[in-house]
Amino acid sequence: MTSDPTGTGSAAPDDVQPVGIQRPKGLFGVADTGDTSGFGGLVQAQPTAGDLVSTPEPLGGYFDEVVAALRESLGDDITRACVVDRGELTIHIAPDRVADVCKTMRDDESLRFELCNSVSGVDYPDQRNRLHVVYHLTSMTYRRRVRLETAVGLEHPVVQSATAIYPTADWQEREAYDMFGVVFEGHPHLTRILMPDDWEGFPQRKDYPLGGIAVEYKGAHIPPPDERRAYK
C-alpha cells in the first residue's frame, strides 16, 4: 500500500493494518450476505473503503460561504475534503485541528455555529484511519447545519477535544471514547460513561462482537448471534 486509502491519513506508517476484523454475520449461520438470488453478488463495491473525494466546487447553497469563511481564518489546508451529499455538507479536518476549527465555527461572525448538536463515532474497519469522529453543528443565527468529520487510526487514536469550545461535547466525547476508544486530548475527565468503569474493549467497534461477552450472572454465556441458531 503506497497511498493513503482514505485520503484522511496523518503521519502514520503505511504498514499498519487493522487485524482480526470480523465481518458482522447474519442470523441462521449465513456466512455471506444472505442473498439467495445470486444477483446480490454482482455488487462488489465497498463504499466505506474508497478514496475520499471532494465535491467539485461550487458546492452550492450556503456551503461555499461556510467553507470560504473557514479557510479564510485558518488557511486553505484546514479542510482535507468538503463533501456534499444529500444536501448536507461534510468538512473533513485533521484530528489535531478540531479545537481550532470549532472555535472558528462558533466565533466567526459569518459562521456562528452556536450549538454543537451531536458528537458521534463511526468505525470504518476497511480504512487505515478507521475511527471517525463526527460533529454536527448548528448555526441558530443563520439556520444552517454542517458536519465536521475527522479520522484517526488505531495506533494513535487521539483527537483534540472540543469541550473547551462546546461544553456539551463533554459527555458525548466520553461516549465516543467508551464505545470506540477514541482518546480526546484535553478532555477534563475522559472516563467511560455508559459501560461499567472496568469494561474491557470498545463495544461499538466493528470487530467487537454482539454477544459472546462474558456476563456476571450465574456464569451465563450469551453466544454471538451467528452462533445462536444455525439451520444448516
Partner: protein, 446 residues
C-alpha cells in the same frame, strides 16, 4: 434498618460502616435530622450523599452523587449508564426496517418520535418521500405522543414535589392517549408504527373519532391542572427561581427543547427547520423568560395546548390515500389485518403469496429476511422531541443493514446540565431541577 452485626464479615447493607473514604451511612427512610446529628459537624462539615440509581425521585435509574454542606449542594455528579441496552450496536445486526423496533425502545415515553426521526433518516438516505397521508398521520401521532410525554413530565414532577393528585391526573389522561395508540397500532408503547417509507398501517375506522373526542376532552383537563398547580403556593415556592439555566448556559451545554424555550429562545425545530410538513400548521412556540423550573412547567402546559391545535388541523388535512410508498421494493410486503384471533398478517396477502404467486412469495421472503439496500452515505436528521432535539446520525455502507446509527438523545445531553442547575442550591431543589429537565433514562442510556 438496623445493623445485624454477627461475625466479622462486612455487611454491605449495614446502617453505617467505615471505609477508606470515610464513614458510610445507608439511609432508607427515617429521620434526616437524627442522622445528621450523629455526624460530627466539626470534622465532617461536608457530607457526600448518594442518590439513586434506584430512587423514585430520580426519574428512573439515574444516580446523583451530591456533596452537601448542611442542606446546600456544593457539587453534583450525575452518573448514567444503568439502562444501557446497546440499541445502537443492535441496530447494526438487523435490517433497516427492523431498526424501528429498536429505536422506539430508547426514549420509552416518546416512541413515535424515535421512530419518526429514524425513518426520516432512512428515507433521506434512500432519497424517497412518503405519501402525504403518512406525513399527516405522523404529525398527529407525534403531537399525541408529545402530550402524553408532557403529561408524564407534569405527573412525575408533581409526585416528586408532593403534589400526588397531579400524578394521578397526569397518568389518567395519558391513559386516554395510550388507548388511542392501542387502537391505531395495537400497542401502547414501543409500537414500531412508523416505518421507513411510511406507516405500518392506516388509522382504524374509528381512529379519527377517537382522536377528536380526546382533543375535545383535553382542554378541560389542562384547566384542571392549572387550577391545581398554578395558583398553588407550595408549587410556586418549590419551582420559582429553582433550577435556573439561562440561554447561554443552555446553548453551551447543548440543552434544547422546553428547557431552552423556558429561557426565552423560541428555538423549535418544527418552526425553524420544518419536517413532515410542519410548515403548513398554524401554531405558536411558547416561550418564557423565567429560565427556572416554573417556566418549564408553564411552557410544557402551553405546548400541550399548541399540540392540540396541531392535531385538530391535522385531522382536517387527512385525505384518503396510501400510507406507504408505492415502491414494492421498500414497502413492507404484508399488511396487517384484524382477524378473529386478533391483529395479524392480512389473510388476503397470505393467500396471495402461498397459493397464487410464486414471485410474490419470493419477493416477500427476500424483503422480510434480507431487507432492502440503502445507498451508501451518511445523513443527520433532527426533529423536535418532547425533551428537545432528537437527532439521528445514520451511516449506510450500501447494505441491507445500518452501518452505524447514532441517536442524539435530548435526555442524555440535557442531563449534563444538572450540576449547573443544582450546585449552590438546596438538596430538595436538585429533585425539582432534575425533574424540570424531564430526563428519560431509557433515552439517555440507549
Amino acid at each position: 434498618m438496623t445493623a445485624t452485626d454477627n461475625g466479622t464479615s462486612a455487611d454491605a447493607y449495614a446502617a453505617e460502616r467505615d471505609t477508606t473514604e470515610g464513614r458510610v451511612y445507608t439511609v432508607t427512610g427515617g429521620d434526616w435530622d437524627e442522622l445528621v446529628a450523629s455526624v460530627d459537624p466539626v470534622s465532617e462539615e461536608r457530607l457526600i450523599v448518594n442518590l439513586g440509581p434506584q430512587h423514585p425521585s430520580t426519574h428512573g435509574v439515574l444516580r446523583l452523587v451530591c456533596e452537601l454542606e448542611g442542606e446546600t449542594v456544593r457539587s453534583v455528579r450525575p452518573i448514567v449508564g444503568y439502562l444501557h441496552t446497546g440499541i445502537e450496536k443492535n441496530l447494526e445486526y438487523r435490517n433497516w426496517t427492523q431498526g424501528t423496533t429498536f429505536v422506539t425502545r430508547a426514549d420509552y415515553l416518546a416512541p413515535i418520535f424515535n421512530e419518526t426521526a429514524y425513518c426520516l433518516a432512512v428515507e433521506k438516505l434512500l432519497g424517497i418521500e412518503v405519501p402525504r397521508r403518512a406525513d399527516v398521520i405522523r404529525v398527529i401521532m407525534m403531537e399525541l405522543n408529545r402530550i402524553s410525554s408532557h403529561l408524564v413530565a407534569l405527573a412525575t414532577t408533581g409526585m416528586e414535589l408532593g403534589a400526588l393528585s397531579m400524578m394521578i391526573y397526569g397518568f389518567r389522561d395519558r391513559e386516554k392517549i395510550l388507548d388511542i395508540f392501542e387502537a391505531v397500532c395495537g400497542l401502547r408503547m414501543n409500537m414500531a408504527y412508523v416505518r421507513p417509507g411510511g406507516l405500518a398501517q392506516d388509522l382504524p375506522r374509528d381512529g379519527v373519532a377517537m382522536i377528536r373526542e380526546f382533543v375535545d376532552y383535553m382542554p378541560q383537563g389542562l384547566d384542571d391542572y392549572e387550577g391545581l398547580l398554578t395558583g398553588n403556593a407550595i408549587w410556586q415556592e418549590r419551582t420559582q427561581g429553582v433550577g435556573y439555566l439561562d440561554v447561554s448556559g443552555c446553548l453551551a451545554l447543548g440543552v434544547t427543547g422546553p428547557v431552552l424555550r423556558s429561557a426565552g429562545l423560541p428555538w423549535d425545530l418544527r418552526k425553524t427547520m420544518p419536517y413532515c410538513g410542519y410548515e403548513e400548521y398554524d401554531f405558536e412556540v411558547p416561550v418564557h423568560n423565567g429560565a427556572d423550573a416554573w417556566a418549564r412547567y408553564v411552557v410544557r402546559l402551553e405546548e400541550i395546548r399548541q399540540s392540540l391545535r396541531i392535531i385538530d388541523q391535522g385531522l382536517d388535512k387527512l385525505e384518503p390515500g396510501p400510507v406507504m410508498v408505492e415502491d414494492k421494493k421498500i414497502a413492507w410486503p404484508a399488511q396487517l389485518a384484524l382477524g378473529a384471533d386478533g391483529m395479524g398478517n392480512s389473510l388476503n396477502h397470505i393467500r396471495h403469496i402461498m397459493s397464487q404467486s410464486m414471485e410474490a412469495l419470493i419477493h416477500h421472503f427476500k424483503l422480510v429476511t434480507e431487507g432492502f439496500r440503502v445507498p451508501a452515505g451518511q445523513v443527520y436528521t433532527a426533529i423536535e422531541a418532547p425533551r428537545g432535539e432528537l437527532g439521528i446520525h445514520a451511516v449506510s455502507d450500501g447494505g441491507t443493514r445500518p452501518f452505524r446509527v447514532h441517536m442524539r438523545e435530548p435526555s442524555f445531553i440535557n442531563l449534563q446540565s444538572i450540576p449547573a442547575l443544582a450546585e449552590g442550591g438546596l438538596l430538595a431543589d436538585v429533585i425539582a431541577g432534575g425533574a424540570s429537565l424531564d430526563p428519560v433514562m431509557g433515552g439517555c442510556d440507549r
